[in-house]
Symmetry: C2
Subunit: 361 residues, 2 copies
């Protein structure tokens, strides 16, 4: 569900201007109690993502015993979805909940902190961030924007896309107009398709009217809700385009640095705990929704043909490697990530990959 800034809002109902921002007062500090604003890229109570962001707000408030009261603003309530990054930079809000790859126009390497095509599973992704050198590079990169980010969620499984016609080989992708965005879109373009970047709320209508031939958005849970199965009968996996799409809690660095150690740690732990909490909810709900798609709605989920998969991984390597040429920090992010991925690939047959192959029988 990658999306880049500069387009209209990512999700239906999020297209509201930032006009409300000016009316909002500076952080209120009374009797040692602070009020912080958490702006998000998600509509109010949006399953998984919005609910998870709300948990972060509530739990920071609870853990701090009300000393740091966090109020959540859905996309458009204070600023539009795609102004979250800038709103936190500028202090319009102290915190934001997003997926980092929305900000790739700010720096081409930001998607490494979300998910890049052919990259890392959700578990590998967070491992690289927390213990593989990723967080340090992220701090350096975001420091230039006056921001500090923490891992704070992951959507898990994603569909490669919903197609009106069956895809039997690479040939069938040629010339198709497909909704996809970010580095993934660039890979798909090089495979012969023509990608279109549409906000989530417009995808269904575009698919229905034939403006696009196929669409990529989220996984079983979100795509069932959007109802893509009603107009596109052929759905494909696995998620070679977004193997583990991470979310983050982005904080205004000056505001964060001014907090006492206790509140800094509360924010960090609330974010990291939500990383697990949100991914867990997606794993459960994606599994439940997949069952519903197949059993209640008669959807056939296909496996992407081998020639597409093979080509996808080859081209992904090129597209991802090109980010390294952007500058020194970009090169170091790419090299750290690449070295970790090599290690993760070697471990996989002895752990998750090997185990799941055996369990499948």
């Amino acid at each position: 569900m990658a999306q880049t800034v500069g387009r209209r809002d990512v999700l239906k109902g999020a297209a509201v201007t930032a006009a409300g921002a000016a009316a909002f007062p500076a952080p209120a500090i009374a009797e040692g109690r602070m009020k912080w604003r958490l702006v998000t890229c998600w509509p109010k109570n949006f399953p998984g993502l919005g609910v998870g962001a709300q948990r972060i707000a509530d739990r920071i408030t609870t853990m701090s015993d009300g000393k740091l009261e966090v109020k959540l603003y859905a996309a458009g309530e204070l600023v539009p979805a795609f102004e979250v990054f800038d709103a936190v930079r500028e202090g319009t809000a102290e915190m934001g909940h997003d997926s980092p790859y929305y900000w790739s126009s700010k720096n081409k390497s930001i998607p490494f902190f979300a998910s890049v095509p052919g990259g890392l599973t959700a578990q590998e992704q967070i491992a690289w961030i927390m213990h593989g050198g990723g967080q340090e590079l992220w701090d350096e990169l975001y420091g230039e924007f006056g921001l500090k980010a923490f891992p704070a969620g992951n959507a898990g499984q994603q569909f490669f896309g919903w197609y009106r016609d069956e895809i039997k080989s690479l040939q069938d992708l040629q010339g198709l107009k497909i909704r996809m965005a970010g580095l993934q879109a660039e890979v798909l373009n090089r495979l012969g398709a023509t990608t279109v970047n549409l906000p989530g709320g417009e995808v269904m209508a575009a698919l229905q009217s034939g403006v696009i031939d196929a669409a990529e958005w989220g996984g079983s849970w979100m795509d069932l809700a959007f109802g893509f199965y009603k107009v596109a009968k052929f759905c494909y996996g696995p998620n070679i385009h977004e193997p583990g799409t991470a979310n983050s809690l982005v904080v205004n660095k000056a505001a964060y640095d001014a907090l006492p150690a206790s509140l800094q740690m509360i924010i960090q732990e609330a974010a990291v705990a939500e990383m697990t909490n949100m991914l867990s909810e997606f794993v459960v709900m994606n599994g439940r929704s997949l069952k519903s798609l197949v059993e209640d709605h008669g959807v056939t989920i296909g496996r992407l043909p081998d020639d597409i998969q093979k080509k996808w991984f080859t081209v992904s390597e090129e597209v991802v490697a090109e980010t390294a040429a952007e500058g020194d920090i970009n090169r170091r992010i790419y090299e750290s990530w690449k070295s970790f991925r090599q290690q993760a690939r070697a471990l996989a047959p002895l752990s998750e990959l090997g185990f799941m192959e055996g369990r499948r029988g």
Copy 2:
């Protein structure tokens, strides 16, 4: 590295009596500040597990701004490793850090909250606990012991074992004496081996002297440290016996219930954040240690022969299903887990399994 209670301590250096306990005062409450004790199954600063438990203690202290000061006791400092469960029940300590399957003698279904043979990956395991009904069943089961538990770590990849002689088929397992414990050991026995349950600190010596022919303990990181490669040249994976070995923070329920909501939430979030933190460290360090085992120590890591894997999954189903006959709660735990696993298996080819197969090329 499953182990059941009633044996000597799980890890070297942990074999100290509980004599120190009596000398320890009741929780000190001065000026609204509490001191809690966290006992663990791990030696002081033990990589991954011990360091992670220390992080939980430190972060609760920091987040609560010292209102709840948690002091960690390594195995043997206050109580021996295998008395952690009872020490927390009885209030000798308020909290413990363990792997739940150490307590399978208390109830045969407790291993479902750690890892069972042929079961769930680390990511699936935590998903079942947090959003698939697992936590509610765990609360009910542990409630009978006056305990409340939170997920609080996972060791990730585990080796199936280190063998003195090459294993080419199921035939080669017949009559071998192998260190393995828990439900896994029962599966291995039914495959024709004779399992021996030895604490971690005794495994290396037993392997060296020929008391055992093969040994299972942990994954790349821990097993490299133990030096098993020095005496057993054949190492096998994947981890079909323990696909995702979880740790938990177990808390005396009466003590927990008496806390204000802010401190309850701080404990919960510290545990869940450590779930991700510890697993991430294991993913990184297991990968790094695997490279060292292969490149620096010339270890050949083999893939378990197909006939062993096939038989393993079949027999695991039987052994795991037998726990359901123990009682009503056991049946409900088994059925909830089984239903979730079916859903997770269906999702795998569209997510981690499918992606990693494609990435392997």
